[in-house]
């Protein structure tokens, strides 16, 4: 099933409106799923979907960035670009998962957190930081799965997993290639070139030890292929959770801490 595509081709696949979205994965991976709404403070922002799911007898908390599958749904979901309330809804479910000892599964697929006036007024930066802070300290296993576009802090806000999985043709980056080219070279039209430089493919990120596992997928995902991909993810989730079952809550937190603590190599001078 493996493929040799350029980074830019992967960007295009990851962004394609035909690409499967979080709810498509959730429906296949979990035996049951019930969506629950709202941040209990301001509103129910639909760019992030939260809920409870089961695989066999095991219960899970699900927090997922959700793009629309139709134009109408995309408008409702703000094209998968979360406002602060989305992250705060996620935080509410992270806290709850600790109470009921449910492992957390996050799905990452966003162009980024929404850059709007209201988002700034309601503390977009604080919401993202608090989401990461909550993920860092939550005493249950966390698995993050990058399924499409993992762009910027808006993606990382759900990214602090004990294990991070990534679909082969998904991307994960500091910013969109257009934004990157525009900041570094003052020329957004050099996005293709930026994509090749940015190390945003699953293989690049695996080599940088930023993700733990690549989920293989073909260039074109048919329904049959999607079945295979989602059952692979389901197996991965079961394996990871069973491997972690003897860890104490403190060990789970420490495992996650060490993973992110060691990110980014540097040279020692002297």
């Amino acid at each position: 099933m493996s493929n040799k595509l350029s980074a830019w081709e992967k960007v295009e696949i990851a962004r394609s409106p035909k690409r499967k979205t979080a709810l498509d994965y959730i429906e296949k991976i979990f035996d049951e799923f019930i969506e629950l709404h709202g941040d209990r403070n301001f509103k129910d922002d639909k760019a992030i979907v939260c809920g409870l799911g089961t695989i066999g007898k095991k219960n899970y908390t699900i927090i997922a960035e959700q793009k629309g599958r139709t134009t109408k749904e995309n408008i409702e979901r703000n094209f998968g670009m979360p406002n602060p309330e989305s992250y705060r809804k996620g935080i509410r479910f992270m806290k709850q998962s600790e109470k009921f000892k449910r492992p957390i599964i996050t799905f990452i697929d966003t162009k980024g957190a929404y850059p709007g006036i209201g988002a700034e007024e309601r503390g977009q930066g604080e919401a993202i930081a608090s989401s990461m802070l909550e993920m860092a300290k939550v005493k249950v296993p966390v698995i993050a799965i990058v399924i499409g576009e993992g762009s910027s802090g808006g993606a990382l806000a759900l990214g602090l997993g004990n294990k991070v999985l990534m679909l082969e043709n998904a991307i994960y980056s500091i910013l969109s290639p257009e934004g990157y080219a525009s900041i570094l070279w003052k020329d957004a039209s050099r996005a293709k070139e930026a994509a090749e430089k940015m190390k945003l493919t699953a293989q690049d990120l695996y080599d940088l030890k930023i993700i733990d596992k690549i989920i293989k997928e073909p260039k074109e995902v048919t329904d049959e292929e999607f079945e295979k991909i989602t059952s692979k993810i389901k197996r991965e989730i079961k394996t990871i959770i069973s491997e972690m079952q003897n860890m104490t809550p403190e060990e789970i937190v420490e495992d996650r801490y060490q993973k992110f603590r060691n990110m980014g190599e540097y040279i020692v001078i002297k």
């Binding site: 850059p115 006036i117 802090g153 994960y172 934004g179 980014g264």
Partner: protein, 278 residues
């Protein structure tokens, strides 16, 4: 390569850290009132325009001089450099040129000092080094400082000024947001005080990580603080932004910072907050 860097750096490490805060020449023009002012006058006035009260940016040396008791600052012995993870040729050159030009090692300095006799870990970012952006070196120094604070049971103060995560190091820079935030989570577990002081400008990945999750968040008057940059927001929504958007005053009004503190009052305010959190 490494030896070369050491040679370059050896003399600067010994030099006193109070650098020129405003570039070249003896005179400086205030951006706000357009007045031409003698630099020394500005420097003696906390880098504040004596004519209109506008704040000039402060570099590390000057900041430490105004906050930390004289002769008590000891920089952490952590001399590290980027691996240039994206292999951008121009990046290595840029870093080297900046080091030569500014005498700064990187966009943050971290160490231990005293504020009115109270020992603290302090990190000060600097806009003069790639706009205070956070790559691995900055992320590591901040994280190391937080861990030192935990080890030594000290409060930690971080002065931020940053354009956000450093583009030149790509995804690895992004991960520094997770790393620093996770370290703050540990600091919280240890029950230690963390105060962040947001200065102009603080944006992007720094706002969306350690800067926004302090126990107490202070800001300098008029500082521009936000997640998304103004231009990006304007392009997205297709309209001009309102007056005063993303200023410290705007953040205070919306409940995201504790207090705006004048530069000359900062040391006393920090001192009081540390004492009252013991």
């Amino acid at each position: 390569m490494i030896v070369d860097k050491m040679k370059k750096r050896a003399p600067t490490a010994k030099k006193k850290e109070n650098k020129v805060d405003i570039q070249i020449g003896k005179w400086v023009k205030c951006d706000k009132c357009q007045e031409i002012i003698y630099k020394e006058t500005v420097r003696k006035n906390y880098n504040i325009c004596p004519n209109c009260g506008a704040y000039f940016r402060m570099h590390i040396g000057k900041r430490l001089e105004t906050i930390i008791d004289e002769g008590t600052y000891k920089r952490f012995d952590l001399n590290i450099d980027t691996t240039n993870p994206l292999h951008l040729e121009e990046y290595t050159k840029k870093i080297k040129a900046l080091r030569d030009k500014t005498d700064l090692e990187e966009a943050v300095s971290a160490g231990i000092g005293k504020i009115n006799g109270q020992k603290v870990v302090i990190c000060v970012m600097d806009s003069g080094f790639l706009m205070g952006s956070m790559g691995v070196v900055v992320g590591e120094k901040i994280t190391y400082s937080i861990e030192k604070a935990i080890e030594l049971k000290l409060p930690i103060i971080i002065f931020t000024v940053s354009g956000g995560a450093r583009m030149q190091e790509g995804i690895v820079s992004l991960m520094q947001m997770a790393k620093t935030t996770a370290a703050i989570s540990k600091l919280n577990e240890a029950g230690l005080l963390y105060i962040s002081v947001l200065t102009d400008p603080t944006y992007g990945g720094v706002t969306a990580s350690f800067a926004s999750i302090a126990d107490i968040i202070l800001a300098e008057p008029g500082a521009m603080i936000g997640f998304a940059g103004k231009r990006v927001i304007e392009q997205t929504i297709g309209e001009k932004l309102p007056e005063g958007f993303q200023t410290a005053e705007f953040l205070l009004e919306h409940g995201f910072i504790d207090k705006i503190v004048e530069r000359r009052e900062l040391k006393e305010t920090l001192s009081k907050l540390i004492r009252m959190s013991k």
